[in-house]
Amino acid sequence: MKRLAKWRLASLLALLTLVLSACSGQPYLSALQPAGAVAKKQYDLMVFSTIIMIAVIAVVAVIFIIVLVRFRRKDDKIPKQVEGNHAMEIIWTVIPILLVLVLAVPTVSAVFDFADVDAMEKKNEDGSSDALVVNVRANLYWWEFEYPNEKIVTGQELIVPTDEKVYFNLIASDVKHSFWIPAAGGKMDNNTENVNKFWLEFDSKKADPDKLFQGRCAELCGPSHALMDFKVKALPRAEFDQWVTDMQNITEPQQATTDLAQQGQEIFNQSCIGCHAVTPSNGTPADARMAPNLTNFGDRNIIAGYLEHNEENLKNWLSDPETYKPGNKMTGTYGELTPEQLDALTAYLMGLKVQGE
């Protein structure tokens, strides 16, 4: 008997997995294709609760169908007036209580697990921690990622090591946002008044260098809320360390190498550098960092958070940011750019790379 029950459960699970995988979305974006410990645990909870719920639905469905088929009005007789049935009422009170309890235990345990950030609180003498910490500052409509231990800042593209816990400090500088990388795990809000902390993990087997994980803002924050995306590049630890070193090595703005790019750099230094830094140091206070840090812009995979990384998109974005991100803070902060200036700026920005080819 027991074996039969097990077999039934297994086949039910198999069926469910089949159904779910048939409609489980894009691997870089879907909560149904977990690519990390948090997302995996959440996915397992989803499956577990879905099974319970399907069982409940099945019971109701059976009674429902019987009722609708058997008790349709056939004659004008008055049916017996039943007050109730205590035994049955107790059954359908107690069983749901048990089901809720069964679901409550893993829920509560997972809640505490996801909130366990002790490792980032353990500070060494110099104030740094052994765990990898990223300060995520959300702004209308861009993301800043600061690595306080490594003392570097980047934006729009989060770079993390795989297969280890990455700890996040979340805050917003203007209005409330919410930090969400569906494939890696659930979201947490960037509040304006306090820092929220949580951790995520990125599975090396699921990380695809050609299709970076997609992150997004999950809290309505204004017109361009829908476009407030970012990318997550998950690298093996060694490559990540290399990237950190490459970034740290840039202490002065990189000099443009071609004539065109040099013209671009001049324009940049006149019109853009007031908001956009091109060195990764986190020395400037956070509220003076008014726009994404562009130190490694040339290495990135997206422009303005969501556009494909190519020169045409960059020129479009620079010449008319309002069309591409309504309500953004860059519109109108610099004059109209001529096609020549656009070419120059593009050449300069695309040349801002920290990683050797």
């Binding site: 719920m53 008055i78 749901p96």
Partner: protein
């Protein structure tokens, strides 16, 4: 005096409705106003679905989209669902308990006019400035940061409308406690009256936090206060708490009357008494109570900490238990019954699987660790539309068909009613089922567009087509209403044939004084008991005597108008160079106070319908 029988001109009818304090006419007003707002909110929903029909669509701009989604939510909850629920409560509850009217007829009218003026104020934002655009939740950091007057319309409009609702809640509570007919104990009250009772208590305790939250927002935006400005020491989480301490009970305020309506329908059309009546009452009260304990499940990702999240998660999941009790009780009300599939019954039957779907996703959302994934995605959008449309809107359609004869004396066409049902039911599931998956695949809610190639295209097309089917269903209902009104074929007391509760013992529509003699209630389903004993109507509990009636009054309209005027002053006074804002604000408030003063010092004892006239009425065939 028997004015109800006379034909009158349009002007006189209009004046009558502007001044009426009769709960049955106020029900008409709520139905018309709520119905109108329902159409507006529906139109906004259609625009949203057209915009999302394809990726990178530019049917509306990003800014306008945020206004549409905000106004859709706000309108549907505050200006459509609430008043429509109030319409049915007003039309039915006093009849169900055998009362002459509600406890405070004057306040009943005041509640309606406050709601209407608040709703008008909110919707004027479309024409005067820009509509509010921070979502129906209007989270503080975003709403404080908005320039223009959109959010001001939200804060002031809801303040006025919310006041009306609060007044309505107190009124219903007193009515049910003090004015039940002789013999109607609490445990003999019809289920719909019970839900009205619990809901009114919820309103009483849930609306004040909203009032305070809206005041804080008003002060911050219009009078320089700093409640939500982090740079000045403020804290936006306060708004989240107040909004949800109100907002969560609010969804039970909407769904419990829906449960009440379905309880009546299952009993009537199964010709069977409600199964497990006492456990249904218990479950209703328990849901109402738990409704106040779970608000923070809307804030699982806000960062309240694991302890708070764990407690609120378990409390939330616990609500599944009383709700489950209800589902099974309804199923077993039908079990062994003699089911007739009228239009109201179709809605009720369809409600069970639809609502169950919303219920199970509710438990999944309540499980906090999973909710981190679901929160603010289309999964949540799907969930709450399953409970609010699959529960509340289904109940409102069902209730409208069921009580149309009691409200207007005519029956809606059954064939058209069933067409409405099929279109809407299919459209509803098409629209929202697929949205569960959109959320899981990574589509956040409240996005004005999405990019191609993420696998969202087909599902959004399906969803949008469903929305149009729902719209078609509503149009058929409107046609039905027009045809029915033009034909104007009056029906008798108990047009469905199987009425069980007191309202079916009265003519359709009932005379303006309801029961000529208060009825004697001998058990649950009072009218059914008499019918089973072969009697035609209720046994009176008192001899025929004069009936005391309240006078009509125009003052409620004026009190509400004053606040409406004051709101304009409050909103515009901070504009550059504005000189008239403060005077208008003061004038409006004085206008309201003055109207209250007149009401206070002018004695209004109402009037009496003499006994003789009631005997006359008998001859005209108005039975009571």
């Amino acid at each position: 005096m028997s004015t109800n029988a006379q034909k009158r001109g349009f002007g006189a009818t209009l004046w009558d409705y502007l001044t009426t304090v009769d709960h049955k006419k106020i029900a008409h007003l709520y139905l018309i106003a709520g119905g109108l707002f329902f159409l507006i909110g529906g139109l906004e929903a259609l625009f949203i679905r057209i915009q999302l029909l394809k990726p990178n669509n530019d049917f509306v701009s990003a800014g306008l989209f945020n206004e549409l989604l905000t106004m859709h939510g706000t309108t549907m909850i505050f200006l459509a669902a609430m008043p429509l629920v109030f319409a049915i409560m007003n039309a039915v509850m006093p009849l169900q308990i055998g009362a002459r009217d509600v406890a405070f007829p004057f306040l009943n009218s005041l509640g309606f006019w406050l709601f209407l003026f608040g709703g008008l104020f909110l919707n004027l934002s479309w024409f005067l400035d820009a509509a509010p655009n921070a979502g129906w939740t209007s989270y503080a950091s975003l709403s404080i940061a908005q320039t223009g007057h959109g959010i001001d319309f939200y804060a002031l409009g809801l303040q006025i409308a919310g006041l009306g609702t609060l007044i309505g809640g107190i009124n219903f509570l007193v009515t049910i406690i003090n004015m039940r007919a002789p013999g109607m104990t609490y445990m003999r009250m019809p289920m719909f009256t019970w839900t009205t009772f619990v809901v009114s208590a919820l309103i009483l305790f849930a609306f004040p936090p909203l009032t305070v939250g809206l005041f804080l927002m008003t002060f911050d935006r219009m009078f320089g206060a700093n409640f939500f400005d982090a740079a000045m020491g403020g804290n936006t989480i306060i708004w989240e708490h107040f909004f949800w301490i109100f907002g969560h009970p609010e969804v039970y305020i909407l769904i419990l009357p829906a449960f009440g309506i379905f309880s009546e329908i299952f009993a009537i059309f199964s010709r069977k008494r409600l199964f497990g009546y006492s456990s249904m009452v218990f479950a209703t009260v328990l849901i109402g109570f738990l409704g106040f304990m779970v608000w923070a499940h809307h804030m699982f990702t806000t960062g309240l900490g694991p302890i708070a999240n764990a407690i609120f998660a378990v409390a939330t999941m616990a609500i599944a238990v009383p709700t489950g009790i209800k589902i099974f009780n309804w199923l077993f009300t039908m079990w062994g019954g003699s089911i007739r599939f009228t239009t109201p019954m179709l809605w009720a039957v369809a409600f069970i699987p639809s609502f169950l779907m919303g219920g199970v996703t509710g438990v999944m959302l309540g499980s906090a660790a999973q909710d981190y994934q679901y929160h603010d995605t289309y999964f949540v959008v799907a969930h709450f539309h399953y409970v609010i449309v699959g529960g509340v809107v289904f109940a409102l359609f069902a209730g409208a068909h069921l009580y149309w004869p009691k409200m207007f004396g005519t029956m809606l066409n059954e064939v058209l009613g069933k067409i409405t049902f099929v279109l809407f039911f299919v459209g509803f599931h098409m629209t929202f089922f697929i949205q569960h998956f959109l959320g899981l695949w990574g589509m956040p809610r409240r996005v004005f567009t999405y990019l191609p190639g993420q696998g969202f295209e087909t599902s959004n097309v399906v969803s949008s087509i469903g929305a149009f089917l729902m719209a078609a269903g509503v149009i058929v209902l409107l046609i039905n209403v027009i045809i029915t009104s033009v034909k104007n074929e009056k029906v008798g007391n108990d047009p469905w044939g199987d009425g069980r509760t007191l309202e079916w013992a009265l003519s359709s529509p009932p005379p303006y004084y309801n029961f000529k003699q208060l009825p004697l209630v001998r058990g649950l389903d009072a009218y059914w008991i008499e019918k089973m004993e072969g009697k035609k109507g209720m046994t009176p509990a008192e001899p025929l005597g004069d009936i005391h009636m309240p006078n009509n009054s125009f003052i409620p309209f004026l009190i509400s108008l004053g606040l409406f005027i004051a709101a304009f002053g409050a909103m515009y006074h901070g504009d550059e160079g504005n000189t008239w804002g403060i005077p208008v604000l003061i004038f409006g408030l004085l206008f309201t106070l003055g109207s209250m003063f007149v009401r206070s010092i002018k004695d209004d004892h109402g009037y009496h319908i003499p006994k003789e006239e009631l005997i006359d009425d008998n001859d005209k065939g108005v039975k009571a």
